[in-house]
């Protein structure tokens, strides 16, 4: 019996593959998006609405192409990406230690728990006027605000993850001679990692949202600013072009994060059981 279950696992021995799916598979997965684009194009070309209200998809793509040649769309995309990613990374560096120490140290919990409970549901974008006062007009208020907004979900996820570390894992480590001081590095941190990444996956879109909205409200370049300027010039093709780039950017960042998760958690059941 023991031998047969041994062989069964050996035969299926998966190693958490990260194979790239074929174009056809991708098309199948997103055919509803394709359908939407086709309907959009048809409606736009039938002249049911003016091109100002709904430009055709083809004209938007042309707009993206033209703006790319003029390099301003590229500059704004780079600026938004830089702000969103930097905020996200700084938030990770700040939030993970706070989350873990909240779960381990009573005083830290006492201090941060009420702050997190009140701060988490507060819309962080409402701090924008104050942040402009404090940090000026260009990059800093946007990055600080997005960092603040990302910190809360990561702190909460890390805290809950650390609290939920299996008691028996800690016990067996201590049983094998692991000291209290090295438990954190050897057991608690790796055991909390799946939850930390959950928090990160929630924080990433928040970072993009906060950066875009700040750019829309206060200028200083970036895709949010690009859309607002285009709207002021009644250039609806460019507004939609900006929107398209924003959604593609958000999608790509989220996909990259999913890949990172699969790589980091290659040992995890979710990766092992993932079907092609």
């Amino acid at each position: 019996m023991a031998v047969s279950d041994t062989q069964a696992v050996a035969a299926t021995g998966r190693s958490g593959g990260l194979a790239v799916p074929s174009p056809l598979v991708i098309l199948k997965k997103y055919y509803s998006v394709l359908l939407l684009i086709i309907v959009w194009e048809v409606v736009a070309r039938l002249n049911l609405v003016t091109p100002f209200l709904l430009p055709s998809v083809s004209s938007i793509l042309k707009g993206v192409y033209k703006a790319t040649l003029e390099a301003d769309l590229i500059r704004d995309t780079a600026l938004t990406t830089y702000r969103a990613l930097l905020s996200f990374c700084v938030a990770l560096v700040i939030a993970v230690p706070i989350g873990i120490s909240m779960a381990r140290i009573r005083v830290i919990h006492w201090f941060f728990d009420p702050i997190v409970s009140i701060g988490f549901p507060t819309p962080k974008i409402s701090f924008l006027p104050i942040f402009i006062l404090w940090f000026g007009l260009f990059d800093r208020p946007k990055i600080f605000l997005a960092t603040l907004a990302c910190t809360f979900p990561i702190v909460t996820a890390t805290y809950l993850g650390t609290m939920g570390v299996d008691k028996y894992l800690l016990w067996s480590a201590r049983n094998m001679g692991t000291s209290e001081n090295s438990l954190l590095r050897k057991v608690i941190f790796p055991a909390t990692l799946p939850q930390v990444l959950n928090g990160a996956q929630i924080a990433m879109p928040i970072s993009i949202i906060v950066v875009i909205v700040s750019e829309m409200l206060m200028g200083g370049g970036g895709l949010g600013n690009y859309i607002m300027v285009a709207q002021r010039f009644a250039d609806s093709v460019s507004v939609f072009a900006g929107l398209l780039v924003i959604s593609v950017l958000g999608y790509l960042l989220q996909k990259i994060l999913e890949k990172v998760r699969a790589l980091v958690l290659h040992w995890h059941e979710e990766t092992q059981h993932e079907s092609k």
Partner: protein
């Protein structure tokens, strides 16, 4: 040499709270060197609590426990433990799980790999060194846990319902393998189970505990000498008689514990 001596051990959970629970009361027990002792009793009788106190995970409320003549103060690798739900590190491969304890003992890298591979071979998992626990079946995970604990060579082996999460066939195979490993490398074993047959089959002596608060009700000798094979022991009248006697004694306690504790 390693023996376990417990004297007048008492454990109260939440002593300062509104509803303290007396889990264990006045337990005294001696386990001799290289003896295999099983503890049985109804659910909630504190048998795992007793084991965790020997391991050093839980503090005693009163009394004392000595292992090898030294009072237990903290967990340590002189007392290896195997848990019901394996408690393997899911982010480490089978090999790294087994080398973990050796690494903590500061054993040089080459040597700990050698020791680990020997123990992985002993539990029949050669070829699975680089698999992660999530890729293994329950029985295989428990083999890894046993290999991991035996690898750092504890003097005392504490087992907390180690086969309780396995299906009946796997459990039978694992019991036989544990006995064969133990007969080759004698250790002092304290084995908690709710399976009376398992206790009688594996142990030299079976300790029966009362319903909560857990006290020692009786200790039954269950050494079967002079049999050639496992089958012969299991089919003998003496085995059936002991199993029945202990089962009846545990059953009385289950009834006493009442439906709420069952």
């Amino acid at each position: 040499m390693a023996d376990i001596v417990a004297r007048n051990v008492r454990k109260i959970y939440n002593p300062d709270k509104r509803y303290p629970v007396l889990a264990i009361d006045e337990v005294s027990l001696e386990v001799r060197e290289n003896e295999f002792v099983a503890i049985v009793g109804p659910s909630g009788c504190g048998k795992s609590t007793l084991l965790y106190m020997v391991a050093g995970f839980l503090d005693l409320t009163a009394g004392e426990i000595k292992v090898n003549g030294k009072p237990v103060e903290a967990p340590g690798p002189d007392r290896g433990i195997v848990f019901q739900h394996f408690a393997l590190f899911p982010w480490k491969t089978v090999l790294r799980n087994v080398t973990y304890g050796l690494e903590e003992q500061k054993i040089p890298k080459a040597e700990r790999e050698k020791i680990a591979r020997k123990h992985i071979d002993m539990v029949k998992l050669t070829g699975f060194e680089h698999h992660y626990p999530s890729q293994l079946s329950g029985g295989m995970k428990q083999r890894v846990a046993i290999a991991r604990t035996l690898a750092f060579d504890p003097e005392v082996l504490l087992m907390d319902e180690p086969f309780g999460a396995l299906d009946a066939q796997t459990r039978g195979v694992m019991q036989e393998e544990l006995l064969s490993i133990w007969s080759k490398r004698k250790k002092t074993v304290l084995f908690v189970t709710h399976d009376v047959r398992e206790a009688v089959y594996l142990a030299d002596r079976v300790v029966i505990m009362t319903a909560r608060p857990g006290r020692i009700k009786e200790i039954v000798d269950t050494k079967f000498a002079g049999y050639k094979s496992t089958e012969e022991v299991l089919e003998s009248a003496a085995f059936a008689q002991k199993t029945h006697q202990i089962w009846k004694s545990v059953r009385e306690e289950v009834d006493k514990a009442g439906p709420l504790d069952g």
